[in-house]
Subunit: 136 residues, 3 copies
């Protein structure tokens, strides 16, 4: 008997599928980005590289998005084959960061029964941190 048989009560049946944390040094991340041509494009969607204003997003803000993607991958058990750009950190009008997944990441999430994502970001002290909870 799966939870899918109780669609009307799904909200009553949430449980945690996984949690992920990532704490990354911003300077080290910045050095990687500089050293490796094409890395930013491999890690981020164009929508993540730009601010709502159209300017390039700063490195601390990118580092924290990378931490979120790492945390998301850990919450899914960090399987091989996930593409970084199949997870997106976007920002609601209210300013709240959210996760959106597709492709390889969405497939893994579906396999585990993930129904919603929770994410939080922080950067200070030269350190970018993120925590992700996958709920199913």
């Amino acid at each position: 008997m799966t939870r899918a048989e109780f669609p009307g009560r799904r909200v009553l049946g949430m449980s945690i599928i996984g949690v992920g944390i990532d704490v990354a040094e911003i300077d080290r991340f910045a050095a990687s980005l500089e050293r490796t041509p094409g890395l930013a494009q491999r890690l981020f969607l164009e929508s993540e590289l730009l601010l709502p204003s159209g300017e390039r997003r700063g490195v601390a803000s990118l580092a924290v998005r990378f931490a979120a993607k790492e945390a998301l991958a850990k919450a899914l058990g960090a399987p091989a084959g996930l593409h970084w750009t199949d997870a997106e950190v976007y920002v609601e009008d209210s300013g709240q960061p959210r996760l959106r997944v597709k492709g390889t990441v969405a497939a893994r999430a579906a396999e585990l029964g993930v129904q919603s994502w929770h994410v939080s970001l922080s950067h200070d002290a030269g350190v970018a941190s993120a925590v992700v909870i996958a709920e199913g």
Copy 2:
């Protein structure tokens, strides 16, 4: 059909409303407190500024409480208009930190359906960290 119709089974229906993390440099926080008259009173309740012994709480311990308030705000989507002193970090007899909310913070929490708070604090390496989960 809302969960409020199943009061006796509420514990069966918990789900995550939001998560928040904050990692803050203790030195930078200490400098802000020193530089800004009245900041401590704007951020903290008198009960938070004092140790159970009646002595002033040290700056690392305050920094971690500030991190908890930031994490709590993020778990609520970090809306405008929350007052810092409407969230309180208190310590149970067992030593466990807990969150208590009122006023602006309680109103936002009620709007989102938050029924319980989970918090954890850490400080080391000159860094104060907190994670908060809002459950509803």
Copy 3:
């Protein structure tokens, strides 16, 4: 009426018992290990001290395991009397870290109704971080 009466629907009734975070400076942890004979054996199981290859685990990897144990203890309210070696961080074939508890830690977890553990580890920037969620 306890959840135990609905064994077939237990997954529908999960809620969060506690969360824990720990962020620890790796150098400071390494210094403690060096300074204190027998500390490693008091903190870790033999299975944690060794890599799957049979080599000794490095200090960053031990520091992150210590952070996980601290986070686990916080998720249980950090009561007195828990033995460090009653919590074990093990790694699944997939590479995912997991928690296993016994003795003092299992007793406390049972008292609080914990049914599953979620853990995530991170180390970078000289800092070992872990987050744990106890779900019941």
